[in-house]
């Protein structure tokens, strides 16, 4: 089982649309897609309108490619749900939100070790943000 983390804390996954891989996307009419951390967001450009949820994998919390992928998807105009999934730690929650993720999906073991309060501690991610100040 997994836990979905948002600004309001822990919740169960409410997504019922399933996920396609990038390769299987053209053949199927998927609303959700799984992106590995080495994906090229440009490959999705033509399909963004048909997607409701993009889930970006974090194989390790030390692999920060997902943060750039999210930023690029948002710059390409993607307005749907964007989810970080995998080994994301609570200390990265603000970063994830600031680059454009809506939510984080973690497994139960991680949720047990880093309980809800630690994630809520960073729910103030809109505050103290140099990027917001610099970009206007």
């Amino acid at each position: 089982m997994t836990v979905i983390v948002t600004d309001s804390g822990f919740a169960a996954d409410d997504w019922n649309g399933g996920f396609c891989t990038l390769d299987s996307l053209p053949a199927n009419d998927c609303a959700g897609v799984d992106l590995p951390s080495d994906a090229e967001p440009e490959d999705l450009r033509a399909r963004l309108d048909g997607l409701s949820l993009i889930r970006v994998d974090f194989p390790s919390f030390a692999d920060g490619r997902g943060f750039s992928i999210a930023a690029e998807l948002r710059r390409m105009g993607y307005k749907g749900r964007l989810r970080a999934k995998g080994h994301v730690i609570s200390d990265q929650y603000a970063m994830a939100r600031r680059v454009g993720f809506d939510e984080v999906e973690i497994d139960d073991a991680l949720a047990a070790r880093q309980p809800e309060a630690e994630w809520l501690f960073r729910a103030n991610w809109t505050k103290h943000d140099y990027q917001a100040r610099l970009r206007g």
């Binding site: 920060g64 200390d91 610099l134």
Partner: protein, 554 residues
């Protein structure tokens, strides 16, 4: 000098509160060491050989008297009464306790300082020319640009978990005192047809695979700086190798893909990112710039300095080496040597820090700089005050007249402190400095930069030392490789390896043979070691270093 606004102050306070909680969670077990490590590194905290080490940022090497006094207070309260200034314009404390670190960070925040991003796989402390704002040859003060980059890179959400560390350096002069060609991105402020812009150099770096940076943009309009640098880091974050930490730096990415390919990718990304900057950064830059207005220079005669030079040979010698021309004719830039013969390069005691703070406050418009060469600078001193400054420095054991000479050695902490080191650096620097002081040859030799690293990561910049020394572990014994002809200036070059390494005992005699050869073959006294090396090449030095192999080859 830049002064924190309410936002900066609140930001640092918030980050310190987060780190305090992270330390508590590590101690309670909520965070594993694997998870805690990148978080502590982002806050400048290493676990070294004998203890923790806290690396405090001195952004672009600029600080004032109150900040220096606070560094002294921290050294006495939480450490062993001294600090170590580094080649990245930081200060390191070698003995803090984990539980004290949140308190130290709070004390730093009191004087608008922090340890953010002085470590870890993120954008590090932005460095700059240590003569910024004072140098006679400057197009523009690089510090406002460096401060803008500091704010942009601080806590940048995309760039806290990069493939590896990322270092930026800025200079406003053609004469490169910030080693910009050995940085991931080096920025030179340039003027073209009356317009100020940036030359952007990418992919320089030392370490296992030393590389001189390549030009990514010949002339970048000032307004494009942040989106362009962001595009560059973004391209590397996605493209840089994560399978091998020795191949993860941007220099390897540039090398593997070619500068033209990287430039094309950066330009594409730049076009996408530019619209996300709506011009507020330019307003902010203008505000930042106001913080760096030149001090109110004093108009007074400079006779005291001229008279003292004639009266006191030791003073004359000190002012020959430790004074640099200021853009104001009545002023001087004073370099305070932290390289007393036999002392640890870059170390200052708390008392010495307070003396330097006091001198800055009394005579130096309250400004101090830390150089990448591990010395302290008083950038704005009226020449009539130089005798008083010299006297105070002598009292504090800080008047060593050796800036730019053979004993002004850069040395990383090496295996005396560093967990990554393969050999010691500090004792080597101490022995070389003492030996040439004993020989009284230092001034005869003239301009010469020796740089020592205690491992291949090259924190001591050995590749760009005129004489570079690299300490290695060879079969359980310290062994030192010598490179010659390196140069960290605008004519940057990677030194050439002379041959097999030397044991710790054989190293100083080997350096002596190099120097004897130089004194022997130089065309005239004015020809520096580096010029001589470039003229005659490795041959004569190699013959002096390895006399036996020459005999056997003959």
């Amino acid at each position: 000098m830049y002064q924190y606004n309410d936002f900066d102050a609140a930001f640092v306070a918030e980050r310190n509160a987060q780190f305090r909680a992270q330390v508590e969670r590590r101690i309670s077990g909520a965070l594993t060491e694997d998870e805690f490590k990148p978080l502590r590194l982002m806050n400048g905290l290493y676990l070294q050989l004998h203890a923790y080490m806290l690396r405090v940022a001195i952004p672009y090497g600029t600080l004032n008297g109150a900040q220096m006094r606070q560094l002294a207070m921290i050294a006495e309260t939480f450490d062993k009464g001294y600090g170590h200034f580094t080649t990245r314009q930081n200060i390191q404390y070698n003995w803090p306790k984990l539980k004290d670190v949140p308190d130290i960070l709070d004390r730093l925040a009191e004087v608008e300082m922090h340890a953010l991003q002085t470590s870890g796989n993120t954008i590090r402390n932005v460095t700059a020319d240590h003569f910024a704002g004072a140098a006679a040859d400057e197009v523009e003060d690089p510090r406002p640009t460096a401060e803008l980059l500091r704010q942009w890179s601080t806590d940048h959400p995309e760039f806290q978990f990069l493939p590896r560390k990322f270092k930026l350096a800025v200079t406003g002069s053609a004469a490169d005192r910030a080693v910009i060609r050995a940085h991931d991105i080096g920025i030179q402020i340039v003027e073209k047809d009356g317009e100020i812009g940036y030359k952007i150099i990418v992919g320089g770096g030392l370490g296992r695979t030393p590389m001189i940076g390549k030009t990514l943009a010949e002339f970048l309009p000032k307004a494009d700086l942040l989106p362009f640098v962001e595009a560059t880091v973004n391209v590397w974050n996605r493209l840089g190798r994560r399978d091998n930490k020795y191949k993860s730096r941007i220099k390897i990415t540039v090398h593997e893909h070619g500068i033209d390919d990287i430039r094309a990718r950066v330009l594409t990304r730049f076009e996408q990112i530019k619209p996300t900057f709506k011009g507020v950064d330019r307003d902010l830059f203008a505000q930042i710039q106001q913080n760096f207005d030149a001090p109110a220079y004093r108009n007074a005669p400079v006779d005291a300095h001229t008279a003292m030079r004639l009266a006191n040979p030791a003073y004359a010698s000190w002012s020959d080496t430790n004074i640099t021309a200021h853009k104001n004719d009545s002023y001087a830039i004073v370099s305070i040597s932290l390289k007393k013969h036999g002392a640890t390069p870059g170390d200052a005691s708390a008392d010495q820090m307070r003396v330097m703070a006091e001198l800055a406050e009394t005579y130096g418009h309250d400004e101090l700089r830390i150089s990448h060469e591990q010395n302290v600078i008083l950038p704005h001193v009226h020449q009539s005050d130089l005798p008083a400054i010299y006297a105070a420095l002598r009292e504090a054991d800080l008047a060593t007249a050796n800036i730019g000479l053979i004993s002004d050695i850069i040395a990383c902490p090496g295996m005396d402190y560093c967990a990554l080191a393969t050999a010691r650096s500090i004792p080597v620097a101490q022995e070389i400095a003492e030996r040439f002081d004993e020989l009284k040859l230092e001034h005869e030799i003239g301009a010469l930069k020796i740089k020592i690293s205690g491992c291949i990561n090259a924190c001591g910049h050995h590749h760009v030392g005129h004489i570079g020394i690299l300490g290695l572990d060879r079969a359980g014994v310290e062994n030192y490789q010598i490179t010659l002809g390196g140069d960290g200036s605008e004519d940057a070059a990677i030194g050439e390896r002379a041959g097999p390494g030397f044991s710790a005992e054989a190293l100083v005699p080997a350096i002596e043979r190099i120097i004897e050869t130089y004194l022997d073959v130089r065309s005239e006294k004015a020809e520096t070691f580096l010029q001589t090396y470039r003229r005659v090449g490795m041959g004569p030095f190699k013959a002096a270093l390895y006399p036996d192999s020459k005999a056997s080859a003959a």
